[in-house]
């Protein structure tokens, strides 16, 4: 297991390298931040001077090399736009996204799994058909639309919830949380729903499919033959055996949500990583983009590792290897 982790960390480093390298190549096509920093009135001379200062006049492989040299020392540079060290910036935005994604995932799991179980057990019932139809809609509606719809209903018409922001947050060390204040929790509602709708639908379909498969397995038939209650057969045996692929997919989902909850965060002005990277792209804030992409690679690899560990926890057969 230890060697597994070591091997993983090796591949993590490689992934981060490749991602960061590719991002430097891409930067060439995005434009540069010079105009955003100097303003429209800067002369050609001043622009060239700033490009030299920032090293943007260098070919991208040299820029990448310099980035690597600094990154090894833990210095990802400072944001062109926010003017603070990139790491500090990313860490300050991380809690908002993690809380949002965490809550959305909890909501999605606690709604999606029961729905999936229900549909697996009564695939032909009326309620199942309705749920399946809803989930199809949930999978196909763009997040942007869900978000705007919620805002129109709950902010503009009913005026119950705030259309933007995180509400009041409380600092716990470097972590900021909205979970401890009323306005913070209220602010979570719409973004969480927006993010969760797709996840609920996806988890429901996944659980349903897997569980229907498992329900045909011999050990389920044998569990029934042993006289176990339906509840025990369905939940303790069938559901548990259906969860492995769910863990994988949900893990990957959490990863991509943390990395790319961009639409949802943009709609609700949620001050997290998604909004940060969106603004960084608009500004050509290369240090933020490079560090962010490298960290996203790192995050994904970590999540993969966690998913594997969860496998070990759920499935005893894997422990032998």
């Amino acid at each position: 297991m230890f060697s597994l982790i070591l091997r993983r960390l090796g591949s993590v480093l490689l992934v981060m390298l490749v991602v960061a390298g590719l991002s430097f190549l891409i930067f060439n096509y995005l434009g540069d931040p010079v105009n955003n920093i100097l303003g429209v009135n800067a002369t050609i001379e001043e622009r060239e001077e700033l490009r030299r200062t920032l090293g943007l006049d260098q070919p991208s492989h040299i820029q990448f090399w310099h980035f690597l040299q600094r990154a090894v020392a833990g210095d990802f540079g400072i944001s062109y736009r926010n003017r603070i060290p990139v790491i500090e910036l990313i860490l300050s935005r991380l809690p908002a996204t993690v809380e949002l994604v965490f809550c959305a995932t909890i909501v999605a799991l606690s709604i999606g799994i029961p729905m999936g179980v229900y549909c697996a057990l009564r695939p032909k019932g009326l309620i199942s058909r309705i749920l399946q139809m809803i989930s199809l809609v949930g999978i196909s509606i763009p997040q942007f639309l869900i978000g705007m719809l919620l805002i129109l209903i709950f902010s503009v018409e009913l005026r119950w919830l705030s259309a933007f922001g995180r509400g009041e947050v409380v600092q716990l060390g470097w972590w900021s949380t909205g979970l401890l204040t009323h306005s913070g929790r209220m602010a979570l509602i719409m973004p969480v729903i927006t993010l969760a709708v797709f996840q609920i639908s996806m988890i429901m379909r996944l659980v349903q499919g897997e569980m229907q498969e498992v329900m045909r397995a011999d050990f389920i038939k044998f569990a029934r033959a042993r006289g176990l209650t339906d509840r025990s057969v369905h939940l303790r045996h069938a559901l548990r055996n259906s969860l492995l692929p769910v863990v994988t997919v949900v893990g990957m989902q959490i990863g991509s949500l943390i990395a790319f909850a961009i639409v949802c965060e943009a709609v609700f002005q949620w001050p997290g990583l998604g909004l940060l990277i969106l603004q960084a792209i608009e500004f050509a804030d290369f240090p933020v983009m490079a560090a962010y992409l490298a960290l996203v690679g790192f995050g994904f690899a970590m999540i993969n590792l966690t998913v594997d560990m969860t496998y070990l926890f759920i499935d005893p057969r894997m422990r032998r290897k």
Partner: protein, 524 residues
């Protein structure tokens, strides 16, 4: 345990939220982005300065009618062609209680003007600054210069003692890892002071009770929230969560105006929108014809005559634009109404001109268009393509992001491009000419690469920068405007309108430079 630790924090937060008294006037203001920093020297970024003007002040400032008036300087006199003496205002306090004096002006000059600072270009004409006494300074300029006061309106004075105490004696150098003290701190002399700032989340300003000027506004607090998404920002206004949004999206104006308790305030923008083009290159890449058709004035005129700018105003701008013939908006000083006469919209005449120029079958024109830099920029480019098709010119649209656009345009990568220019922060034709009309050099014509070039015009532009006599300036400015118009140096479109959405409670002013001068605002 954790609960009891948190209690004071939560309490503090709720006091911050509800502490204001019932009749306190809080203006909640949303904008599409946050300002990059509270440092007014960190970038020559009109967006940031349009908000920071409430916190910091310059020696002079623009009033509600965009006329210069004294601010931290009470008065000034021109001692010689190259020497300006400024008498500083006494009894002015920074927000932290420090007294404003000549040392702060000198400090701010060096902070903003030293090589490497983004403001070095703005303060470039200044050769030297001397302190006469605590409230008198003399600026020596390198050459005769007409626009010192205009420039000073965009250069804000900071507190020497404070800046040095927080280690922000220089504007942040992006190439080093210096920390961002100015992200969340500000100490100016302006009508409002910073009380809270979470970058990209919220900035709270409170009234400065010790402001030197007479208070005309009745605001106690300004809460500024960036909301990037247009639809969400409008929703926040409609739901009553914010009182005021600048630049309401054109498609939402009707909805805002149709909501009871809401209004849209409009005003002419100083910015005029036009197409610039490659008039220097010997060939036009991708045109499918020999040579560079855009070099011929007949071709440029034909393009100008083919664009139905009234149609664009009607169907794309929904009335919120004003067609113009020259780069000077009517609200710009030295505007000459007699010259503001457009070429007639005449596709047939345009076609005839094209034939006369040797392009009876037209050619292919690559048009580069920013997606999101100007109001309805994409739609206008698409409409233009349709109009050009009628005279046989096949437009090839190339949409780019604003940042690609801002990088590629000064680099001369585009041959035909949409551009808008407002002449900020100088608010003088010289700014427009030097950036977009003068032939490109190291210091001038940055936004005119490969573009319009006329030696006489270049010469006039330099003189316009030096001449202080208004009548002489008017004469020269009109000549530049007329020459460029007659030679079709630009294909002019229109002047944008500002459309600011707000609740009925807010009384705002809508100046052509888009600055939010909150000291003129009141709330019912």
């Amino acid at each position: 345990m954790i609960r009891s630790l948190l209690k004071p924090l939560i309490l503090a937060a709720s006091i911050a939220a509800f502490g204001a008294t019932a009749d306190a006037k809080t203006l909640r203001f949303a904008e599409s982005q946050d300002i990059a920093s509270m440092d007014p020297h960190a970038g020559r970024d009109d967006f940031a300065l349009s908000l920071l003007c409430n916190v910091y002040e310059g020696l002079v400032r623009w009033n509600a009618d965009l006329k210069l008036e004294p601010a931290l300087a009470e008065s000034w006199e021109i001692i010689s062609d190259t020497e300006w003496k400024f008498n500083l205002r006494k009894n002015v306090k920074f927000h932290n209680g420090n007294t404003f004096n000549a040392d702060d002006v000198i400090f701010s000059y060096h902070r903003a003007g030293d090589p490497g600072s983004p403001f070095a270009g703005l303060l470039e004409p200044i050769a030297e600054i001397t302190k006469v006494d605590d409230y008198t300074v003399i600026f020596k300029v390198k050459r005769k210069y007409a626009l010192l006061l205009n420039d000073f309106a965009g250069w804000y004075i900071m507190d020497k003692e404070f800046q040095e105490s927080i280690g922000a004696g220089k504007p942040l150098d992006l190439s080093s890892n210096a920390g961002g003290a100015m992200q969340t701190q500000a100490n100016g002399t302006g009508p409002f002071k910073l009380v809270e700032r979470q970058p990209d989340v919220k900035t709270v300003l409170a009234v400065n009770p010790d402001w030197w000027d007479e208070r005309k506004h009745n605001l106690d607090e300004i809460v500024y929230t960036p909301i990037a998404n247009n639809a969400t920002r409008v929703a926040a206004l409609l739901s009553g969560e914010v009182d005021f949004i600048r630049n309401a999206p054109p498609q939402d104006l009707a909805r805002i105006e149709g909501t009871s308790g809401m209004k849209v305030m409009r005003g002419p923008h100083l910015r005029t929108i036009f197409y610039g083009m490659n008039q220097q290159g010997d060939t036009l890449k991708g045109s499918g014809v020999e040579g560079n058709p855009l070099k011929k004035v007949e071709v440029r005129k034909a393009i100008a005559m083919s664009i139905d700018v009234e149609g664009i105003k009607r169907s794309i701008m929904r009335g919120n634009s004003n067609p113009v013939a020259t780069q000077l908006a009517p609200q710009m000083p030295y505007y000459d109404a007699a010259l503001d006469v457009r070429f007639p919209y005449d596709p047939d005449g345009a076609k005839a001109l094209l034939t006369q120029a040797g392009y009876p079958d037209g050619f292919t024109l690559p048009i580069t268009c920013p997606a999101g830099s100007f109001i309805n920029d994409e739609q206008i480019c698409q409409a233009t393509a349709g109009m050009l098709a009628k005279i046989g010119i096949k437009a090839q649209l190339n949409m780019v992001t604003p940042v690609q656009y801002d990088t590629g345009l000064p680099a001369g990568e585009f041959d035909f491009y949409m551009l808008g220019w407002a002449g900020l922060p100088t608010i003088d034709p010289y700014n427009i000419f030097s950036a977009t009309v003068h032939s490109p050099t190291e210091k001038l014509g940055a936004w005119n690469p490969k573009g319009y070039s006329n030696a006489r015009v270049d010469e006039l532009i330099i003189k316009i920068g030096e001449e202080t006599d208004q009548a002489k300036r008017q004469e020269m400015i009109s000549e530049v405007v007329k020459t460029q118009r007659d030679e079709v140096g630009k294909i002019m479109l229109h002047q944008q309108f500002l459309t600011w959405g707000m609740t009925d409670k807010v009384n705002a002013i809508v100046p052509g430079d888009e600055y939010t001068r909150f000291w003129y605002y009141t709330m019912n």
